[in-house]
Point group: C2
Chain length 440, copies 2
């Protein structure tokens, strides 16, 4: 499962960063600034010498909230003393993983947007190319304690995104994360698991076989050195990577208090797209999503197509517009509809009173009545015109949404009347049998 990659940086640089990944906490912006100003190797020397470069100290003094450099240096020093980067590299590589650092061909440059809190390096384990996999990627995140609804939808999104050529990025946790990864794997696509522990640690342990499949088809990555176990802090800091790697994040299920909302916050602060999935208002696991929607921080996303529409190239990845079902009555022109409305269901009415009720001329009424009779909407009785029995029968059983009135003006009225068979639409507002509208 091991995979070689173009190493553009000298081994010394790699070892220096491996050492600093031990010295600093993940997302340590102070270390980030030290490296960006003086390089990894000089940073290592400075820490070992317990003296930070004076220019660095001067610059830090101008920071908004200057930090206690002495204590930080002490912490770095103590950890560096205990660190063994060569052993780390050996351990990682023997486990089949590789350490990539900024400047490497596989480095996902979108992480540079994280500034000084950009990872010092990333341990990558798997057959896919991380950078390539994340070019078109979506983060699917949500509660570990997902409901069956949440797990189902997460898997659907995993499949849907993958089938459209998008990579699913998530945290490999229970619930939404795992379901999304599994959906992506089922669709035969690479998927990216971002861990809050070393890539050689299987956390949660129940996901061992999942992670094995991911390493085959995608990658498991982490900014933690081998052997490091997860902590709360690392989970929260890990979330910034999930948001930063992908073009957009969709929150599938989240309680009001949820780590997924932390990822959402990172996505927004990185100006990435944010989608939220609606659910029943009776479900506490959707309350976080609904708050994101209510506060207009997230776009309402109801399918993977919706999400692709959001993150995709404008016009290139548009979600298919949902269309309302057309019903036969749409195909009647306006005066004919008015005449049909004026025909009683019981008894009968003459063309003249129907014309008055419909507000059309007698000629118009006569021709419309002819057409409606031909199409089987109405029938002539000794008492005059009335709706056909089967129509009245239909009216007793309203049930489908298709029976409701169109929200928009009626479609092209030039069509011809339909056959009587597909008729349920007359159902709409299933009125009582009625007489013409004149008062008695």
């Amino acid at each position: 499962m091991s995979r070689t990659h173009a190493r553009t940086k000298p081994q010394s640089e790699v070892e220096a960063r491996a050492a600093l990944m031990r010295a600093a906490d993940v997302g340590d912006a102070l270390m980030g600034r030290l490296i960006s100003q003086h390089g990894a190797q000089q940073a290592v020397e400075a820490i070992r010498a317990r003296t930070l470069p004076s220019e660095f100290i001067a610059r830090e003094a101008q920071q908004e909230r200057p930090q206690d450099l002495t204590s930080r240096l002490h912490t770095w020093y103590a950890r560096l003393a205990a660190a063994n980067p060569a052993a780390d590299l050996k351990a990682g590589q023997s486990s089949g993983a590789r350490l990539i650092i900024p400047g490497d061909a596989e480095w996902p440059t979108q992480l540079d947007q994280l500034g000084p809190s950009r990872p010092l390096g990333l341990w990558v384990h798997g057959n896919a190319d991380l950078r390539f996999s994340c070019l078109k990627s979506v983060a699917v995140v949500g509660a570990r304690a997902a409901t069956p609804y949440g797990s189902y939808v997460a898997a659907e999104f995993g499949v849907g995104l993958s089938e459209s050529g998008w990579t699913v990025v998530s945290g490999g946790a229970y619930g939404v994360d795992g379901a999304a990864h599994k959906g992506a794997l089922a669709a035969g696509s690479p998927t990216v698991v971002v861990l809050a522990c070393g890539v050689d640690i299987c956390y949660p342990s129940d996901h061992e076989s999942l992670f094995t499949s991911v390493k085959e088809q995608g990658v498991v990555i982490s900014e933690c050195p081998p052997g490091v176990h997860p902590t709360r802090a690392r989970f929260l800091i890990r979330n910034r990577l999930i948001a930063a790697l992908s073009r957009g994040t969709v929150v599938v299920e989240a309680a009001i208090r949820s780590g997924a909302l932390n990822t959402a916050t990172h996505a927004l602060s990185l100006n990435r797209h944010l989608g939220a999935l609606p659910g029943p208002i009776t479900s506490a696991m959707s309350a976080g999503c609904h708050r994101l929607l209510r506060e207009r921080k997230a776009v309402c996303v109801t399918s993977s197509d919706d999400m692709i529409d959001l993150v995709g190239v404008m016009g290139d990845d548009l979600a298919p517009q949902i269309r309302a079902p057309a019903v036969p009555r749409d195909r009647l022109n306006e005066p004919t509809k008015r005449v049909l409305d004026a025909v009683p269901a019981r008894g009968g009415a003459g063309p003249a009173s129907i014309a008055v009720a419909a507000g059309v001329s007698l000629d118009a009424a006569l021709s419309a009545l002819g057409g409606l009779a031909a199409a089987g909407y109405i029938e002539r009785t000794p008492k005059g015109w009335r709706l056909r029995k089967q129509t009245t029968a239909y009216r007793k059983a309203p049930d489908s949404a298709a029976l409701e009135p169109p929200p928009t003006p009626e479609p092209d009225p030039t069509d011809t009347p339909p056959f009587p068979d597909d008729f349920p639409d007359l159902d709409y507002d299933h009125p009582q049998p009625h007489e013409p509208h004149n008062v008695p």
Copy 2:
């Protein structure tokens, strides 16, 4: 059940409008303009004389889409000839209803925003005062073919809005409408049913007892004369009244093709507030709501409080902020949390290595360890400090949302550590038992 009201207009004016309500279709803007320019009585005379005022004809010629005045006049004339306004007023009043017209004390002036398509008059049946009832009102609309979820939520909204002193306005139909009205009645509040037929017609017939209760507690209203039956056109035009009477409209359930969306469109065009209720993306009856949310036409509303927050007086009717449950760990200060994270679950670690792992000074680590031990988070063993057994036990069973990490920075860290009993939060990210972070 009959109710007298201050009639400020002469009977002749009332009879004239009653006659014109027969002559014109509901929402007939042409008739509206004729009346606004020449008054109802002159309009009646003009129609009877089959000659429209020349100024009116001249003005109409300048309309964007001038209408065929001759055919309209013919229709009005024919219907007026068949009309008997005195009989209408008698029939309505004997049934217990009253006809109110613009200028009456009970007239809801917010309808004037409808311009020329404002109703010519309104038949009102019930003990409540229409104008007063609608001062603080919300339209609760949705599918007739509501799901159990939709009906449940509609009833909840009916109760919630009423208990907060808001009147529910709806169409009295099956499904969402009926459930909302029933919820309002259950809360002992007036509610307003806007019919698309005469107030003496019970449509749908199964709602006879509902309408009877509404007339006791609220009002049933219609712009149709007595005896008039519903038609598709009247339902769509009726919807503008529901939107115009209320301060805002909430769509509880709506398929992509739904009359409720037609009401939503009216609400938007009248610049009233629009809310939509989320539901499962797997439910076709929520697709219309989700589209409104996705297109940002509606605000996501998950409770009657949310809706009141939307339509209410700024700052006066704010919805209570949902709070995340606070968990014990929140009450630990930052260094103490870091130390707790660095204490292994199995084996044990000395203060020095814990201090290095946590990135705090030895003194800070020692005091934090003391506090954590006192609070029962950790215990001292021959091998050093480790998490208390019960804690480790907790870690095996992750299930509740409250166990997830906070989306926001931790609360006030000055609090004292809590008792060990309420401890589930240590569950968050339930890690494997782990050793300190130094490599072996």
